[in-house]
Symmetry: C2
Subunit: 91 residues, 2 copies
Amino acid sequence: MDRDNTVYVGNKPVMNYVLAVVTQFSNGAEEVAIKARGKAICRAVDTAEIALNRFLQDVKKKEIITSTEEVETDAGRTNVSSIEIILTHRT
Amino acid sequence: MDRDNTVYVGNKPVMNYVLAVVTQFSNGAEEVAIKARGKAICRAVDTAEIALNRFLQDVKKKEIITSTEEVETDAGRTNVSSIEIILTHRT
């Protein structure tokens, strides 16, 4: 079992990401990390909440980490916030 | 000192909320909670990151909590994700 499963949340509908998370646990993942940057952060939180409340009864939030990343844009370097929500099986 | 200082993040520019957080610590708060719902969640994360990286050297993240709240709208009840980021003085 791969312990380093990550779902990157972007601009697609939230249920796409919920399905990705649920699928990874169905495939035997012990832990799934949901990552997002900038405006996608709220969708990452939605993804975790919907997955936990509606689909994954035996999974819980292990840790939530926020940080700041520097990205290159046409206008130069800028800072963007990011979030990582780690879900894990209840033991 | 009031230990229950909360900054609710909404649709205003992010620096308004950063200033509110910095002011509460300047006024002697031991702990400040940053709360937001829905699309304001990414702005709450920005608020915490900017406040910590640029203004508050002796403050750290204590805890990040996400949850689902039920709200009443014209179209009936709906669920909305929320976040609470708790900042506290380094000891």
